[in-house]
């Protein structure tokens, strides 16, 4: 790839990071919200589904912004939420830790 194209692409990716940052943070918040509800024993199916979809979307996009660790963590959360309420509830502490790490990673990327 020509240097000019690479530079233009990298600049565009940075602009898109800023553009989609609120959405990325909201997805992390959904993962955290469900993890807290699971820990408290009051997670609804809708909350669980929202968290699953949020984790799925983060898994698909964070690596595109260079955050491969974020993709791996989000994928782990996606699998836990997909496994159903009981398994996810048993892993609520892990899900909270994943949400915290994702938030930190996203904040540091800015």
């Amino acid at each position: 790839m020509e240097e000019g194209s690479r530079s233009a692409l990298e600049q565009a990716i940075r602009r898109m990071w800023d553009q989609f940052l609120p959405e990325l943070k909201e997805r992390v918040a959904l993962i955290e919200r469900a993890a807290r509800a699971l820990g408290a024993g009051n997670c609804t199916p809708e909350t669980l589904k929202d968290a699953y979809l949020a984790a799925h979307k983060l898994a698909g996009v964070l690596g595109t912004f260079g955050l491969m660790e974020g993709t791996e963590l989000a994928r782990e959360a996606e699998n836990l939420y997909e496994a159903g309420v009981e398994r996810a509830a048993a892993a609520s502490a892990r899900l909270l830790a994943i949400a915290a790490r994702l938030r930190q990673m996203i904040d540091e990327q800015r």
Binding site: L9, I13, L62, T64
Partner: protein, 124 residues
């Protein structure tokens, strides 16, 4: 003539990054659709050289959209590359019976996405 590609994905960030990547790096013409239904319409009128199709979408998902594309004479021969964030073998097996050109795994690298597609489709 640059290659023409249609991206069908409900996620704004993925759709925009992929479009920008293919336009900037490869100079291809890109059209986007944010749902399977919109993708069917755009594929039929735009007649792209290839379609990048997300698997997990609300409403009409990727495999259903793919089958609809194959039913339409205007779109039946367009190569389709599935795009999915699912990496487990059981997920991948679900796509085995679909006659797609390839299954690309998210996240993709915006710097190399066009090269990956070009190699799969045999584009120079």
């Amino acid at each position: 003539m640059p290659h023409r590609i249609l991206i069908i994905d409900d996620e704004d960030d993925i759709r925009e990054i992929a479009a920008m990547s293919l336009e900037t790096v490869a100079g291809w013409e890109v059209m986007v659709a944010n749902s399977g239904a919109q993708g069917l319409t755009r594929a039929s009128t735009y007649k792209p050289d290839a379609i990048l199709l997300d698997v997990m979408m609300p409403g009409m998902d990727g495999p259903t959209t793919f089958r609809e594309l194959r039913k339409n004479p205007a779109t039946e021969k367009i190569p389709v590359l599935l795009l999915t964030a699912k990496v487990q073998a059981s997920d991948q097996r679900r796509f085995a019976d679909l006659d797609v050109a390839a299954v690309l795994v998210k996240p993709f690298d915006p710097l190399t996405l066009s090269r990956q597609i070009a190699e799969i489709l045999g584009w120079d």
